[in-house]
Symmetry: C2
Subunit: 471 residues, 2 copies
């Protein structure tokens, strides 16, 4: 008897992906789309799909995609590698290294114990504590990526204090739960405040062309009800989706208080890390006003941690994961931007829009919003997505009779909450994706479900609320 | 009694560096030099000096320098981070990761045993084997950086097979000896062939403006005698400077043959690595002809090693050192390029040149060559150095009556052999610098001495030879 299970299934999937990319490559481009755009889509789309179906890890898929794009002269080398010099991506790399210091010096564990002592009666309590801290600090952080540099060490330390550690199986799902709470929290906290994400003011600026005026207060009012509903509901949804090993931990707060007592006062390294973080947070907050570059602030903080010996070269030597994240994200970021520049995104948006002519405004609006969210599978940057599609979708909606202000708000909120849809959907996800507590499969699965649920909340609660407050 | 030795000396040196940078910053720029160029020199010069005197590791120094340059608005952020997207620098990063596979699969150890069985009667024999292999393959490698991706795994495996390993003290100096042999070998093999380094044909092109015609054959003729002398002498000089723990190892070849026998035939992973390397070498060799990008070839090879499972994500996770090298090199590369772009290098070259007026041609030539070499302390790229100073120095020499052809050759050879002067003097050094077998202090010390000795060889043997063959 043959043993069919001995056929290595991964190899079959890998081969299928190679055939798919090659096949799409030679299919003629649809009318109105440049052949370069179509071929880059063949490479990029296959790379993403091969991660979704676990044919290749994301690093391997990204590396093959960029090699193919450059060796076939589809993209010039300078353009294909441009992502490596992107300030936001470098900020992530530095945030990774800086976050290491919080764990290493023990400050993270201390904060973890502190949070557990306050909210630790259940895994749910820990998740809510992440959402709470994040949404309170968000208006002062114009970059959700920079904010992830603060939320991630906290969430990681919470997981650590609760016994969920990378490579250990005992509380793997608890770790997944807390990490994904961080990702979703950042997506919702960014939707709550006009100043919590760089793309928000940009989007309000673009909406002005449609006669939609949005300020700090009107944004907060419009966002408040659906976003707070999301913040209340999402930890419950995630708990249901992930089923962490331990839910009720009534004795945890007392144990955490004992552990805090044993730790005693702050040690030298903890004080340095605390000072470095407070300094970075203050500078990040003032960055826009003082004209400071966020990445340079992170370089400075990283330098201080190195010079003070809190971080050593031996610590950095263990952070090869960060390099892997740097490579795949920089590559996918660039390929996605190029796909956009070559007109692929605009072409897709216009085709979707054209197919809606004749529908009722409400149905058209719903389809536009769903399509806008689903298309984020193709993007590696929220800002790029906004720049490519927000204007097109808003324009079509208005032409079909959808009121401009509520539609603008819906698309702007979506620009924030869809960040969780893929690990590369926002640079703010990367620290969590690299934590070792989330599998790539989990990230796509949870990303899909939680983005769909957020969309539901913003549609079902948000539409009536928006119609009420935007008169 | 006070205990003066308890004053932490490093802290004093660090403080001195901060004061130096700040002091230079506020000193008015010399006449004719833009204030930006002067201030960038204050940052860059202090960063290099602080590494030389061991005040900061090179990563810390680089990180502070770029943070200061951007936060003071001396450089715009996009320019300051541009080095991260540089193709050559990415090639290095990939070569590091790809080299890992040679060691991991056991192929490196096998090649090491093979070389030891042939040349292993002494440490000197091993060093000569590196120089020999490198100078034979050099004409087919238009990039000394790409070639370092082949020579480094070989040298590292030789060290490994001879018992010199990172973090182990027993044969530390033997490891240093073999690593530095690799660095010097690459600098000399590049000087031997017109096609062994990207800057060589560029330089001959620039020399054409001075009526100097150089082709593949005339370059080889002119380079042969001084370069072969260098290749014969440098292993002896390095042995004398480094004094490896073991010199005579008469029984090593027999032991290596036994070890080879025990290894048996090539294993699956070794075959894959061998095939990937042969493929990359062939593509690198054909890169110029076929218009292929060397970095993309490395991406492809890296992808193959990942997809075949020879390299795993766990392997990459251990390569944080590579990230550290990526960061400091990208930063120093950019700062040095900007220093050049802002006119600092040209200003310096012209001032040196101006001070030589009135000297005899021979003395002027000698001073020009020495100055050209010493100035490489300021450069992080051989090509940038050539572009900035070769024309100026050749022009001044000719005006002072130095014959153009021998001077052009001397400066072109120097452009190759001065690469060893600092760890960042050439991207081809980085793999060796990151090996864990060379300390930063050693690299500056050995770099200074060996570059001085090479210069001596090229002057004492090279000048008469050049006067003979260039009529």
């Amino acid at each position: 008897m043959a043993e069919p299970n001995h056929v290595p299934r991964t190899a079959v999937r890998q081969l299928a992906m190679v055939f798919l990319a090659t096949g799409l490559w030679f299919v003629p481009a649809p009318d109105g789309l440049a052949v370069e755009a179509w071929r880059l889509f063949a490479l990029f789309g296959t790379a993403i799909l091969s991660v979704v179906i676990s044919a290749f890890p994301i690093l391997t898929a990204a590396v093959f995609a960029v090699a193919a794009a450059v060796l076939t002269n589809l993209l010039p080398a300078e353009k294909a590698y441009a992502g490596f010099a992107n300030g936001t991506i470098l900020l992530i790399v530095l945030a990774f290294l800086v976050a290491r210091s919080v764990v290493k010096c023990g400050l993270g564990m201390r904060i973890g114990h502190l949070m557990v002592s306050l909210f630790g009666r259940s895994a749910l309590g820990l998740s809510y504590s992440i959402f709470l801290v994040d949404s309170i600090i968000a208006p002062a952080f114009p970059s959700n990526t920079a904010r992830s540099g603060v939320i991630y060490p906290m969430a990681f330390s919470l997981a650590d204090a609760a016994g969920a550690r990378p490579g250990e199986d005992g509380r793997r799902r608890l770790g997944t739960f807390l990490m994904f709470s961080g990702i979703v929290s950042l997506s919702l906290s960014s939707a709550l405040w006009l100043t919590a994400m760089a793309a928000n003011p940009l989007g309000t600026e673009m909406a002005r062309a449609f006669g939609v005026e949005i300020g700090f207060g009107s944004w907060l009012l419009a966002a408040s009800v659906p976003t707070i509903a999301g913040i209340v509901l999402m930890p419950l949804v995630l708990r249901w989706l992930i089923a962490p090993e331990q839910n009720a931990t009534p004795e945890a707060p007392a144990a955490a208080r004992r552990a805090l007592k044993e730790l005693g006062p702050l040690r030298r390294d903890e004080k340095i890390v605390l000072a470095a973080f407070v300094g970075m947070v203050l500078l990040w907050g003032a960055a826009a006003t003082l004209g400071l570059d966020s990445t340079a602030i992170a370089f400075l903080g990283f330098g201080v941690l190195l010079a003070s010996g809190v971080l050593t070269l031996q610590d950095i030597a263990k952070e090869g994961d960060v390099l892997a994240t740097f490579i795949w994200f920089a590559v996918l970021f660039t390929l996605s931007s190029q796909l956009n520049e070559l007109g692929f995104m605009g072409y897709l948006g216009q085709h979707i829009a054209a197919s809606l002519i004749g529908l009722s405004p409400l149905v058209a609006a719903l389809i536009l919003i769903v399509a806008y969210v689903v298309l984020h599978y193709m993007f590696v940057s929220q800002t790029a997505h906004l720049l490519a599609l927000f204007g097109v979708f808003l324009d079509v909606g208005v032409k079909l009779g959808v009121p401009a202000t509520p539609l603008a708000f819906q698309l702007l909120f979506a620009t924030n909450y869809f960040s969780a849809i893929t690990p590369q959907g926002s640079s703010a996800n990367l620290l969590f994706a690299g934590s070792g507590l989330l599998s790539q499969r989990d990230m796509y699965r949870l990303g899909g479900y939680s983005t769909a649920f957020c969309m539901l909340v913003y549609l079902v609660i948000g539409i009536p609320w928006l119609l009420l407050v935007t008169r």
